[in-house]
Structure formats: structure tokens, C-alpha cells
Amino acid sequence: MADKKTLTFSIMDAPYENGRTVTAMRLIDIAARRGYDITVFAYEGAAALSFAKQEPHANAVHGRDLAEEDHPVPREWVAALIKTAEAHGGKLDWINCGLCVDERGVAEAVPGTRRGSPADLWKAAESSDCTLIIGAK
């Protein structure tokens, strides 16, 4: 692919807390569908986005049972984006900051993700065409 790009993202918001997470997922999804090589460094609260034990729930206020509610859980987004990148000839290297994982107790992450450190963010950024940091506020 002549216009294949290598991109790095670092995100910080915990699941379900902020629209910035969805914005980041939109951008990563676009990049994955273009077959780009992507690194995501999930820092601080974002280290919980790929936590394997997230569970959806029914919603009585919405009047929907578990199946009907089809509640999105971010770990599914992460897993799906990894597959999407591969399916389009690219890759998504999802790295969870190790110390952030430890202090939040979210070590069990979905397959395809890995534990890392700030050195991984720096290394990925050095070899990327562009790096975007989406910090928490």
C-alpha cells in the first residue's frame, strides 16, 4: 500500500468516563480500516479499556434485557480493532502501561494486547509518521 502510514496514539481516560475514549476509537478504527500500522499506548485509566473481566448488563431504565441492551464493553472494541487492522493488512499493537495496570488491578487483558512501559511509547513515536496524545483532563 503506497500510502500506508504508521501511527501512534496514547490515551488516558478510564472506560465509560469520557467522550475522548470514543473519539480515540473512531480515529483508530479509521486507521485500522486503512490498513495502517498502529500503536496504542494505553496510559493511566485507559489501561482498563482492555480489561478482560468487563461485563455487559441489562438495563431496566431502558426497558431492555441483556441481549436487547447489547451494552458495549470497551474490551470488545479493542479486540475488534486488533482484528480489523489485521484484516486490512495492517496491525494494531495495543500496549497497556504496566504500572498503570498494576495499580488498577486490571492485569487480565484481552488477547492480542500486551504490557509495556513509557519506553514503548517513545520507541513507537520515533518510528511513526504521526503521534497523537489524548490526555485526560
Partner: protein, 128 residues
């Protein structure tokens, strides 16, 4: 040659107690150790990080004492000792009633109007 990167921090004290530091300052130090060519710009509320002698010690919840409070001013001094330039936007400090004499040594003060020129001197600008 590493890419010259400016880290911009404008939010202050979001999680400094639990993390015992500011995560953006911390990661700057970690990446510097990994070979990064980094500088730091404090603006907005984050300019308060450069106030000398701030003390968050003594916190205790239900008897669980915080034995290691954040010491962000010391963290910035340590970063500078490792060769990371730390810039502060002058107007943001003035607007918050922070006088020059209250700030740690070694900072580079820039006017708000000088931010764009500062950015132009870097390969990358990361806004945390």
C-alpha cells in the same frame, strides 16, 4: 537523531495524590530515561506545579496515611537536572497570582504570544 518533542501540560492536580506525581511529568522523565529529546511547557493551571515548596503531606483517610505525598516542584527540578527544559507561560502564572519569586529555579518563562514560536522549534508537540 531522536525527534525533538515538546510535552504540553495545562491541567493541574488531576490525580496527583493517588499517583504521587503528575502522570505527564512522570512519563516525560521515563521517556527521557529511554533516550527521548524532550522539553516541557506548563500552561493553564499546570503552572502551579512550578511553585516552590508546595506541601501536600499529612493526608490520611480512615487512618491510612499518605506517607509519600506528591512533590511536583521537586519532580520538575529533577527533570531539569536531566536536561529537560521546562517552560512556563508568564501570563498564566500572573493570572493565578503567582509571583516570579515563588517559582523554582531554572525555568524558562515565555509570553503567551511566544507559544507558537516555541512549538515551531520542535518536531512534535504532545498535549497531555
Amino acid at each position: 537523531m531522536p525527534k525533538k518533542t515538546l510535552q504540553v501540560i495545562d491541567a493541574g492536580y488531576r490525580c496527583t495524590i493517588e499517583e504521587q506525581d503528575d502522570p505527564a511529568i512522570w512519563i516525560t522523565g521515563a521517556m527521557k530515561g529511554a533516550g527521548g529529546d524532550l522539553s516541557l511547557l506548563l500552561c493553564g493551571n499546570a503552572v502551579n506545579y512550578a511553585v516552590r515548596g508546595q506541601d501536600a503531606s499529612g493526608l490520611s483517610f480512615g487512618g491510612r496515611k499518605q506517607t509519600q505525598p506528591p512533590r511536583v516542584d521537586a519532580d520538575l527540578t529533577k527533570l531539569m537536572s536531566k536536561g529537560v527544559a521546562v517552560y512556563v507561560v508568564q501570563e498564566d502564572a500572573v493570572e493565578r497570582g503567582i509571583e516570579t519569586g515563588e517559582l523554582i529555579d531554572g525555568l524558562e518563562r515565555i509570553p503567551r504570544a511566544g507559544i507558537a514560536k516555541l512549538f515551531a522549534g520542535f518536531d512534535q508537540v504532545w498535549h497531555w
